[in-house]
Symmetry: C2
Subunit: 283 residues, 2 copies
């Protein structure tokens, strides 16, 4: 069987998944026209096949991995082409969006006749020798999505309808990025008050896994802080605007926004965090 | 050497530390008049010696372990008695208070001539066979506080002045209780959206230490949530009212307040959290 998969944008994640699929014998279509040089290079390196929106609509499976803000727009743009191709495609929305947004994508695609699966990707983009990210899927198209396992992807069905896979992704990100934000906030306070050395010792002694997480996850965060602002807002909406919990992630959005601004300015806050982090590394 | 230590209130922590001190040969004074039956029983079980405020003021070391809201009041009440006894005591404020409040306690005691150490206790009250809580101390009285090591306490000097030990305690609590609050919030959302089973699996796989923390720390929290509200507010103030970070702990205070109310009402939220927690336990 030669399967054709469309990945509309060959970003870091889309290009990485595309490379795995082509290495396993799939034809992988993508749009490169008007995209950045980096995207075009990733598509070429992954042996993806350039096409246009009409071409994407003819694929057996469309795997949408785009910036969360354009998830609905991407589905809407491809919908007429999917319909024109007979509506036989499976559309997997694998974006970091809330369950409500995932359901909106499903509604946009309903008239096309395409099957739909909600998806959520956990883990960083594939790297040689690294662990594969996992693609969690839920909803009516789940069974059909499992064929991607034969093409090298780590596909995992989630019990539940459209929304469950997106909720899973939101929840996992809420815990991970919540913990990193807490560590970034507390690290600064500890250093300002002269308690950094003692705190790193306490963490190593009582919670070695959290200490290890601080060592690794804090520096990974600095260059991504600006992207996490919108993601924290999305998580806050997902948790429910009327619930007290959502204010935690609303505050985290502001913390990441401040860190992104700090990174672009004098780096004072990130300097304090790094002072703390290096103590942990030495602990 | 027979040392006399005053622990004004034999609460769970004060009584527990008192028992260790008396077992190691110290005379430990406490006030029981007007206290609850539980406090009087703890004092007796720990072989503490009942006295009044004047008696407490005569001790070599006064170890203040009281509800945070009465830390300053306790110091102010004992101050004239410490002065009357010649101001030779060492006063250790070991309460969960912000560095600013610890500095205020030091100011209250300055006219007495007593030495002062800021303290912070990390860990639960002593239990037979359990790990001892650690008493972190900073400020001018630190050297003198080390004598409590000979009496069985795990005393750890923190470099820095009055405030550093309190900051350490605040920072450690901010991380621990911040993570628990995040887990409690996300657990509910995951269960509401049908993603609980998948999330527990992802946590076990990717962050086994956080999964283990969820299993143990969530049920420990339910009966304490009402106490954590004020502690989260204190942490928010400590982080700085003008800083974005403080809003995270302000929101956590509301989350714990809601959980305390839930616990007293229908337990719907805690029921969802427990559903999630049991999945992790089974994972």
């Amino acid at each position: 069987m030669s399967l054709t998969v469309a990945i509309p944008v060959a970003g870091a994640m889309g290009g990485g998944l595309g490379g795995i699929l082509t290495a396993n014998g799939a034809t992988v279509l993508t749009e490169t026209a008007g995209r950045s040089a980096a995207t075009q290079e990733r598509a070429a390196a992954a042996r993806m096949t350039p096409t246009d929106a009409a071409g994407l609509g003819c694929a057996d499976i469309i795997l949408s991995v785009v910036p969360p803000a354009i998830a609905i727009e991407t589905a809407a743009r491809l919908a007429p082409h999917i319909a024109a191709a007979g509506g036989k495609a499976l559309f997997i929305d694998a974006n970091s969006i809330s369950p409500a947004t995932a359901r909106a994508v499903a509604v946009v695609l309903r008239p096309t006749g395409a099957a739909f699966a909600d998806g959520g990707i956990v883990g960083p983009p594939p790297r040689p020798g690294g662990k594969l990210p996992s693609l969690h899927v839920s909803g009516p198209g789940t069974e059909r999505a499992l064929v991607l396992r034969d093409l090298g992807l780590d596909v995992r069905p989630v019990d539940g309808d459209v929304g469950a896979a997106s909720a899973l992704k939101m929840c996992f990100a809420a815990i991970n990025k919540g913990l990193v934000g807490i560590l970034a906030a507390v690290a600064q306070a500890a250093e300002r008050e002269g308690a950094g050395a003692a705190l790193s010792g306490l963490l190593e002694e009582n919670h070695p896994a959290i200490a290890a997480r601080a060592r690794k996850a804090l520096p990974d965060m600095y260059p991504k802080a600006y992207r996490w602002v919108a993601e924290m807002e999305e998580i806050a909406d997902f948790l429910g605007r009327d619930r007290a919990e959502s204010a935690i992630w609303r505050a985290l959005a502001q913390v990441y926004s401040d860190l992104a601004a700090d990174s672009a300015a004098d780096g004072q806050a990130i300097g304090l965090i790094e002072t703390f982090r290096k103590r942990v590394a030495a602990g």
